[in-house]
């Protein structure tokens, strides 16, 4: 599409309905390789459903998701787990696990439960990446919601996949850690060439950190373009049905919609 580079994760004609309600209505797009793409849109637009379908957690009722020129359903689970990782919302576990135990699970596709020294190193790196060293031995049920969220993100990083799909990763995080997570994702993309797709609610994080934005509304893609093309007051007003004031400061776009 906009970029000349080949895109490896594409979907065509995706339908999904829950009972009578149509959640996704024949949508198609390509996800830019080696970039951050944000999915935005009002509640109930189908963002999380789309993300779950792209990551084979949910079966679509029609259409096709293709990943590196193969149907995503035809991959062996273990092979796909080395290439694509997904983290959904609400990660509540009633298990006595330490942060390090959880992050170690990220290596399961490689180790099948027996960690090699290489796996252990990847786990430690992931913990360092998310600044969880001091909490590595803490139990998950003793952590705050934000710390737990970071532990799960750390697990996804340990999984070391080219594609990372995140459903509202900033949920429960304070500003410092939101910024930290977004910077981490940016580094994963810029330094390691990974591709990140995330559902995000805070439009300013999408504006600051993503390369592309896909806007969904009522189960359809209403916009799919480079970030700067989407962060326009008229475009955003169409999507969210509220007014936006776009402030351009040092080449960075900031949206004010709080009290206009």
């Amino acid at each position: 599409m906009v970029d000349s580079q080949k895109d490896y994760l594409t979907f065509q004609d995706i339908h999904k309905h829950y009972g009578e309600k149509i959640v996704l209505n024949a949508i198609s797009a390509e996800i830019a390789h080696g970039k951050i793409t944000s999915l935005i849109g009002p509640n109930g637009a189908g963002k999380s459903t789309l993300l779950a379908i792209l990551s084979r957690l949910l079966k679509q009722d029609g259409g096709k998701v293709s990943f590196f020129d193969k149907n995503i359903g035809s991959y062996k689970g273990q092979d796909l787990a080395k290439k694509l990782a997904i983290l959904r919302q609400s990660n509540h576990l009633d298990l006595k696990l330490t942060v390090e135990d959880l992050v170690s699970f990220g290596r399961f596709p490689y180790s099948q439960g027996r960690l090699s020294s290489e796996d252990k190193e990847a786990v430690q790196n992931a913990i360092r990446f998310t600044e969880l060293e001091s909490l590595a031995d803490a139990y998950l049920d003793e952590l705050s919601g934000g710390q737990r969220q970071r532990a799960f993100i750390s697990m996804i990083i340990a999984q070391d996949t080219d594609y990372i799909l995140l459903d509202e990763p900033l949920n429960n995080l304070d500003m410092k850690h939101s910024v930290h997570v977004m910077k981490t994702l940016r580094r994963l993309v810029d330094e390691l060439g990974k591709t990140v797709i995330l559902v995000i609610h805070e439009i300013n994080f999408a504006a600051q950190y993503s390369d592309f934005i896909i806007a969904l509304k009522n189960g359809e893609i209403v916009q799919h373009d480079k970030t700067n093309q989407i962060i326009q007051s008229n475009v955003l007003r169409d999507i969210f049905e509220i007014d936006f004031d776009i402030i351009d400061r040092n080449d960075k776009l900031i949206c004010n919609y709080f009290n206009l």
Partner: protein, 317 residues
């Protein structure tokens, strides 16, 4: 290292209670005594391992600490099957059908039931585990009501034949049945051992399990099959006893909070055997057979269950 100490203590107490059970007030001049006791002991160990293993796996699959496979209605289908054959053959039941055949049919029926439930479940995959559990409860109640209906119709003398199946007892052991059950148990455990490494990941829930590359549905199907086999082994041998599972699983979680399944399964089976042997010992020598092991288990298990509900309630509020 405290874990290994706890494990050796557990093992030592199991060996101790086994020795006590075999040798307490033994009259060595009558060697049939020790023979009979060893058969009872062997059946308790087979049942203990079946109950411990199946309950722990079931709790991991359902991500729930207060359920046992009993909720899936396996035991009510067993009782229904026994009721139906007694209903048809009356007091001639065991002239028509041998105990071994009875065991085989019961096992087959419970496995078939488990597969059927599974098919129901994954027709509508998004409903998942909860749907499976709910259908289990409904089907279980249905079978139970059917059995009760037939039990009302039959002759009271024939009803005592059924009653024999409804209550747990280690005294009715049959050596031939025991060897078949042991072989079934062993084969099932060997089959399950290939998949044990996945249980830790399954405990994280469906989404994480799929993300980490597991064939989640396939594994759930395999484990449900293993559970149904183990439950049929224990139920066909001694009767409905899976309530013991709640007790032993939660004791395992409390004693060994590190949630690595190979270790937890071992511990759970040990605790389960320990409970059964200790319970049976008490019944034989302290209560002089005035009560049955299932009453003791249900009494202690029930109290513990209430405690569990109480302590989780406190955690939530």
């Amino acid at each position: 290292m405290r874990t290994s100490l706890k494990l050796s203590l557990l093992l030592a107490s199991l060996v101790g209670i086994i020795a006590l059970f075999l040798l307490f007030e033994i009259d060595l001049s009558q060697d049939y005594m020790i023979h009979k006791r060893s058969i009872r002991l062997a059946s308790m160990l087979v049942v203990g391992v079946s109950v411990g293993f199946s309950s722990l796996v079931f709790q991991t699959l359902s991500q729930n600490r207060i359920l046992t496979p009993a909720i899936m209605g396996y035991e009510s289908i067993f009782i229904l099957f026994q009721t139906v054959i007694v209903f048809i053959y009356g007091d001639k039941t065991f002239q028509v059908i041998t105990e071994q055949n009875n065991f085989f049919y019961a096992v087959l029926l419970m496995m078939g039931f488990s597969l059927l439930m599974y098919l129901f479940m994954f027709r509508r995959s998004k409903l998942g585990m909860l749907y499976l559990l709910l259908s289990g409860i409904v089907m279980g109640t249905l079978f139970q009501t059917f059995s009760q209906f037939m039990q009302i119709l039959i002759d009271p003398n024939e009803f005592t034949v059924i009653q024999n199946f409804m209550f747990v007892s280690f005294s009715k052991m049959n050596t031939k049945l025991l060897s078949i059950a042991s072989i079934t148990l062993l084969a099932t455990l060997i089959y399950a051992s290939f998949y044990i490494k996945y249980l830790d990941v399954i405990a994280l829930g469906r989404d994480h399990a799929i993300n980490l590359g597991l064939n989640y549905q396939g594994l759930v199907r395999r484990f449900m099959l293993v559970i149904s086999l183990l439950v049929s082994v224990s139920t066909a041998l001694v009767g409905p006893i899976t309530f013991l599972g709640i007790l032993v699983c939660n004791l395992t979680y409390e004693l060994f909070p590190n949630r690595k399944h190979p270790a937890m399964l071992t511990v759970c089976c040990l605790i389960s055997c320990l409970c059964l042997v200790a319970g049976q010992f008490l019944i034989e020598h302290i209560f002089q057979f005035s009560t049955t092991v299932s009453i003791v288990i249900n009494f202690i298990g029930g109290l513990y269950f209430l405690y569990l509900l109480w302590s989780t309630r406190k955690k939530i509020t």
